[in-house]
């Protein structure tokens, strides 16, 4: 077996590297498909009125709120999602495949439906929301924390799936070695498992943040729309369209695009790059 592996490897190295030519047109087509709409935004952008649109306090408020909420949602997703991913990847229990399928539900659920679902759970008449409201006078909908909750609900599957994949790919023998040398389970998790899956965790967190930043449907349903507290950038864009002002909508979209691409590129460079 091992001799077979040794024989295969040199031959593979000897082959010319590169894509099979048949894939190239499809790859180019995919790239065009993804980038043409963005190019369309750039072409239709009202460049002259851009500075006026973007320096409006409303737009800046929405941008700030978007970044703060998406970041808070990502923190929430990491705190809760990593343990869940660990459970799915490492714990043996009945119905694990069902739980794994359920975790991806927010991915397939239309976000607006997700917003209604959040009402039934956390709204004033929701399963958990009603006692919260009656006993403590805490009502979540239409508040900034509601934006964070809506974004986390929609974005968490991205993080869980990425981290679970990384955990499955990690070499368990290193964890076993740590525990034979006397490390506690918690110590092993912190000092061995987490560093092993760090690239997967980082990639998942970035995806999660990007998804949260663009979240619209669940947010406008569950958190509503009020300037300064719940009107995030995507909602601001939608309202601009409602007002019959597509030029402003495009300008605002481009800002959101620019911010997210910049952040993602910087992270990839600084953070993901260093881990590779």
């Amino acid at each position: 077996m091992s001799s077979a592996v040794r024989r295969v490897r040199p031959r593979r190295r000897g082959q010319p590297t590169g894509l099979p030519p048949v894939l190239v047109p499809f790859a180019v087509l995919a790239l065009l498909f993804l980038l043409l709409p963005v190019a369309g935004l750039l072409v239709r952008a009202p460049w002259r009125s851009m500075p006026a649109v973007l320096t409006q306090p409303a737009a800046l408020d929405a941008l700030r709120l978007s970044i703060v909420c998406a970041s808070a949602a990502t923190v929430l997703c990491v705190l809760l999602g990593v343990p869940l991913a660990w459970l799915l990847a490492r714990a043996e229990f009945r119905g694990r495949s069902v739980v794994r399928a359920l975790v991806t539900v927010p991915l397939v659920l239309p976000p607006v439906v997700g917003g209604v679902a959040l009402f039934t759970a956390l709204g004033r008449r929701g399963i958990v929301g009603r006692p919260l409201d009656e006993w403590f006078g805490v009502s979540l909908p239409f508040t900034t924390p509601a934006v964070v909750v809506a974004e986390a609900f929609v974005a968490m599957p991205f993080l869980v799936i990425a981290v679970e994949g990384a955990l499955r790919g990690a070499d368990r023998r290193l964890e076993d070695a740590a525990s034979t040398m006397g490390a506690t389970r918690w110590y092993t998790f912190r000092r061995v498992t987490l560093p092993l899956v760090a690239p997967g965790l980082a990639a998942g967190a970035v995806l999660c943040w990007a998804r949260a930043l663009g979240e619209f449907g669940a947010t406008i349903t569950f958190a509503g729309n009020f300037p300064g507290t719940t009107r995030t950038m995507p909602v601001e864009v939608f309202i601009a369209l409602q007002r019959g002002d597509p030029a402003a909508a495009i300008a605002l979209s481009l800002v959101l695009l620019l911010v997210s691409v910049t952040v993602l590129a910087l992270l990839r460079e600084r953070w993901l790059g260093a881990l590779r």
Binding site: R125, S139, F142, I220, A223, G224, Q242, R243, G244, P246
Partner: protein, 257 residues
């Protein structure tokens, strides 16, 4: 969509007279109308237009009516962006003007009904809302239509007329979304059209307020110049403006212009 319209029509029949008489419908049917008529209409017209769609299909057996209901301003954007539609019915003249300015209407729009606002509260009125003044109470959860859509403009007019400074918790994208927050019991009060309260049975109560007279919306309708089916477009507008059509609309709580 059709199924729910049938149920709604049957429901209205019990309450009032829904579809006046089939013999009248037969006379109106010219037989020349075929294909699908695509109607973009303000969200507040949902129930009435679904009923009118049923009447339209009765009158013209070879034709079908297809509706898209949303905030008028959103629909106006869709039309000026080239959405293939035959008829546009807007909840405000200002929104219709956007389409007229885009040279997208066939002839002058006609105002066919008017609508006024009503306070909507969850069944039982748990927060004991009395009138417009309660909308200034910070302790209450309040939903209003965003000022960018016609029902929000009407709400602003009502608050200006009554000298009340509202403290909304959310500004919803269209009137149906606003009402949904009441239906779910997530807000204590909202300002919506009277027709929307009337169309929602059970979970919502409507409270009239005197200042609503200051905030009456005119609803214009027009066939569109780029209509894929101009004959059907004219036929549908004719139906809406006919006595039968207006009867359906007034049954739904709209007022005659």
């Amino acid at each position: 969509m059709r199924g729910s319209a049938v149920v709604l029509c049957a429901h209205l029949l019990v309450l009032t007279s829904c579809s006046p008489s089939t013999s009248e419908s037969d006379r109106a049917g010219t037989g020349a109308v075929t294909g699908t008529v695509t109607v973009l209409a303000a969200a507040s017209l949902t129930e009435a237009f679904n009923t009118l769609g049923e009447m339209f299909e009765e009158q013209h057996p070879d034709a079908a009516a297809q509706f898209s209901f949303a905030a008028s301003s959103e629909l106006a954007t869709q039309i000026t962006e080239g959405a293939p539609a035959d008829v546009f019915a807007s909840a405000s003249p200002a929104t219709m003007q956007l389409v007229v300015d885009g040279d997208a209407t066939e002839g002058e729009p006609t105002v066919f009904v008017r609508n006024r606002l009503q306070i909507a509260v969850p069944a039982g009125n748990p927060a004991e809302v009395q009138g417009l003044a309660d909308f200034a109470d910070e302790a209450l959860k309040i939903a209003l239509c965003a000022p960018e859509v016609p029902c929000g403009v009407a709400a602003e007019a009502a608050f200006t007329a009554s000298d009340v400074e509202p403290r909304p918790d959310t500004l919803e994208a269209d009137v149906k979304a606003t009402l949904t927050k009441v239906t779910l019991g997530e807000v204590d009060a909202a300002l919506v059209y009277r027709t929307d309260v009337q169309a929602t049975v059970g979970d919502v109560e409507g409270i009239d307020f005197p200042e609503s007279a200051e905030a009456v919306n005119d609803y214009p309708i027009a066939a569109l110049s780029e209509a894929p089916n101009p004959t059907a477009a004219r036929a549908f507008v004719d139906l809406v403006l006919s006595a039968d059509g207006l009867a359906v609309l007034t049954d739904a709580g709209f007022e005659r212009p």
